[in-house]
Subunit: 488 residues, 2 copies
């Protein structure tokens, strides 16, 4: 009906550009008119309360102060100079670490809400620490409250997938050698390798034996080699890796290779048994993700430098515990904004499918928070073979992420984009205003404990985190600039 | 005048597309007409004799047989499986190597026509071999004929820059594990590193001491490690390096990193003194071109498999001795077609300029002959910072080289071009028909002996090589298919 009226009013077949929701276009399409759909959603997903908050925050005097704060946060992030300085034991080096305390990936969570892979890792951790001698004992202990749980992020630490850190585990020590946070440290365990590993919830004897080799042989060797070599500039190493096809989250082959060649001469100079030296080098060589557990605390170290800047809307944490996704914002350090962890869209290893997949898990989204991983996909066209999609998708993702970020990284350049810096500093307000979520590259864990990785792909945070964070940020700004709403 | 007539005849301002030589367009441009210039040259540079030869070779029955031969040559190239199998002494391993024989890069040349860097390397070689105890004695010996000179290529070997191989030098041994040439070997010395090195014509005591360390410590360690590790698949390693930003000629950081991490565990297991092991690993780590001396014999090994295919117009050698550029063609193995080595267009290290540059030198153009280096520039956008130009230039160069090649490499993919294979198998007839020379990435040597590298850039072969090769190939085809010119 409408179409008949249209064609009577307009001469010829109309060309229509439609902006907004799809359900208004059916009649137009039926009329035979040429229809182009322009993707558009109103800011804040169109929710009147969020539109009102975004409008408040966009008013000139407020927006100027938020911009200035974001400039400071971004500058502090860029001025950070994370260096690998050593390897120590979690209990001795991580602030606030105690016997009986287990750190985990993502926002806070208790045993009862933990997903399969995180529970599996906790069981493995209890066995490793000698707190239990069977998985059943370990579960009982964990559910009794005898083991306490806190997020890695609450202790300047990060961990991939389950992200479990127990007191006796060796950890990399990363130290800031520049800018606002000089001397501050971040921490991460050493990467165990692929297949059945603790971070994917496996806890068999093979897993525990490997962790013991890492504790007794690999970690002391690396610690001694680092004393010989002196600090390793991780930001520079990452810059080289990005020029060598890594995106720093799901592809870490270049970073791992560069780290091995850097450390090998120093390892070789140590008074080690030949078999221990050879096994340590072979262990690192066998695992292309070995560098991930160094790039993660590097990113954490840099993002800590941006924390505690009043009025800044820059994200400083994105992470997942397998049940919840959590974010933190520079102006409200330590406050969690959470929502349900999402399913990963990706490619599965043979024999597995989406029904095997645990929801999104791990602190490794700290890479995207620092402008790498999904944000640097253009640097790693080969990644599309692993997470799905085309090379054009990889370029488009990096370009799209530039819309929700505050600037370009001053050190990390992407060759294929004419050496443009990676999009850096995710802005909560841009995410909400543009209805555009961060893109995260990630591994997929099996939902049952003990199975391991079943695939890899792309995921976004749930909107809930950002909506909560927007409310809290609006309130924070209102309190900090009380008269912002008055006309000027 | 012309322009006035034009505008009288044609209504309005004409749009003119000009094809061919520039000197006809001045009048048109002056008339105010819009002028687009389409780059075009007649085949064979327009030389009537070459046009006639190309016409002969393009006749259907001839062209079909040449195409079939090229298919065989390309298939044999692709089926080759070069593996690193060991390290030996030149005298013991290179076929035809003798005391008093020095191998050099490029086509044959005597002392009197050698350029500065090659003479410098010969002096260093004579000192290293103990044939002379001063540079003056070495020069006298070299010019007297007491030292004999032959090309590396005449001995299944290749060498970067001066490419000097003396009898006592250690060489990598690469062996073909597949296809037509199974079991056949190629050879190359170990890369010395950057700065003042023999291959750039330096022969100071520092240079000779380094060569002695390589002979007495590094080479035996690598030989023993390879016995432990077994053969290393070089084609696979190269494929990975191309996905990690190497183009395999001027950028070898990924290949070098991958080689180090592959060999380090085996080196560490050897009964070596700790300081020797550490120094060997540090030596390889300090030199991002260490892998070049392995990718070169890899390419040579593959191209040898394509040699001796009657009627094939595929190039199997491109190389330079610092004075002459030489090429060989699959159907006429061992025959040299030469022209003057050209000046490299590139970027110079601080303090140096084009007036310091030696003409093009080295066997490393074997990389381009195998479809890497300049042909794979799209794989290595970072290379443009080293040789000049933009990322778009790098992509354009790879696309342009596809016009003069017979196919796409089946193993070596370029991620940024949606995993298209590198353009592979340079066709003499396409080069001549399209007037399009191969693009070569290369280092620039100082023209005086003993100075070293002064820059890096891009160079093309001289046309003379191809014109000579075309004449010889035409004759070869005429002799092989005597009645080709008869109408069918």
């Amino acid at each position: 009906m409408h179409s008949q009226r249209n064609t009577r009013i307009l001469p010829g077949t109309p060309w229509i550009i439609h902006v907004g929701m799809d359900d208004m276009t059916a009649g137009v399409a039926a009329s035979g008119a040429a229809l182009a759909h322009a993707d558009f959603q109103p800011p804040g997903g169109g929710d009147p309360r969020r539109v009102r908050m975004l409008t408040d925050l966009a008013e000139a005097p407020v927006a100027e102060r938020v911009d200035s704060a974001n400039k400071i946060a971004l500058e502090r992030f860029q001025a950070s100079q994370p260096h690998l300085v050593g390897v120590g034991t979690a209990l001795d080096t991580i602030p606030g670490m105690e016997e009986g305390l287990f750190l985990h990936a993502g926002p806070p969570i208790g045993w009862e809400r933990m997903s399969g892979p995180l529970r599996g890792a906790v069981i493995g951790g209890a066995l490793l620490e000698g707190l239990a001698s069977t998985p059943t004992q370990a579960e009982a202990l964990a559910s009794s409250g005898a083991i306490r749980f806190q997020p890695c992020h609450a202790h300047q630490a990060v961990g991939p997938m389950a992200g479990l850190v127990t007191p006796s585990m060796p950890v990399w020590i990363v130290e800031d050698h520049g800018g606002h946070n000089q001397g501050k440290r971040s921490f991460c365990t050493l990467n165990e390798g692929l297949g059945k590993v603790l971070r994917y919830g496996a806890f068999s004897s093979e897993v525990l034996e490997r962790l013991r080799f890492m504790e007794t042989t690999l970690a002391p060797a690396l610690a001694a080699a680092l004393e010989e070599s002196g600090p390793v500039d991780l930001k520079l190493l990452m810059a080289q890796a990005l020029q060598m096809g890594d995106e720093g989250h799901n592809r870490n082959r270049a970073g791992t290779s560069l780290l091995i060649r850097e450390l090998a001469p120093h390892l070789a100079a140590l008074p080690l048994a030949r078999e221990d030296l050879s096994r340590s080098l072979a262990f690192m060589h066998a695992n292309d993700h070995f560098f991930l557990n160094l790039s993660m605390p590097m990113a954490k170290c840099m993002l800590m430098a941006a924390e505690d800047v009043p009025l800044s809307s820059m994200l400083t944490v994105m992470c997942r515990n397998g049940t919840d996704f959590g974010v933190q914002v520079a102006s409200m350090p330590g406050r969690w904004f959470t929502g349900p962890a999402m399913q990963v869209r990706g490619l599965y290893f043979p024999g597995f499918s989406a029904s095997d997949a645990n929801p999104d898990i791990g602190d490794s989204a700290i890479m995207e928070t620092s402008g790498i991983g999904g944000f640097a996909m253009a640097a790693a066209p080969a990644i599309v073979q692993f997470v799905g999609g085309t090379v054009a998708d990889a370029l488009a993702t990096t370009r799209r992420m530039a819309r929700i970020t505050l600037g370009r990284n001053s050190t990390w350049a992407i060759p294929s984009l004419d050496f443009l810096g990676t999009p850096t500093g995710i802005d909560l307000l841009r995410v909400e205003s543009l209805n555009l979520l961060p893109a995260i590259n990630t591994g997929i864990a099996h939902r049952e404990p003990g199975v391991g990785q079943v695939g890899a792909g792309l995921v976004s945070p749930p909107w809930e985190c950002f909506h909560q964070a927007l409310s809290a940020f609006h309130q924070h700004v209102m309190e900090t600039i009380p008269h912002h709403a008055e006309p000027v």
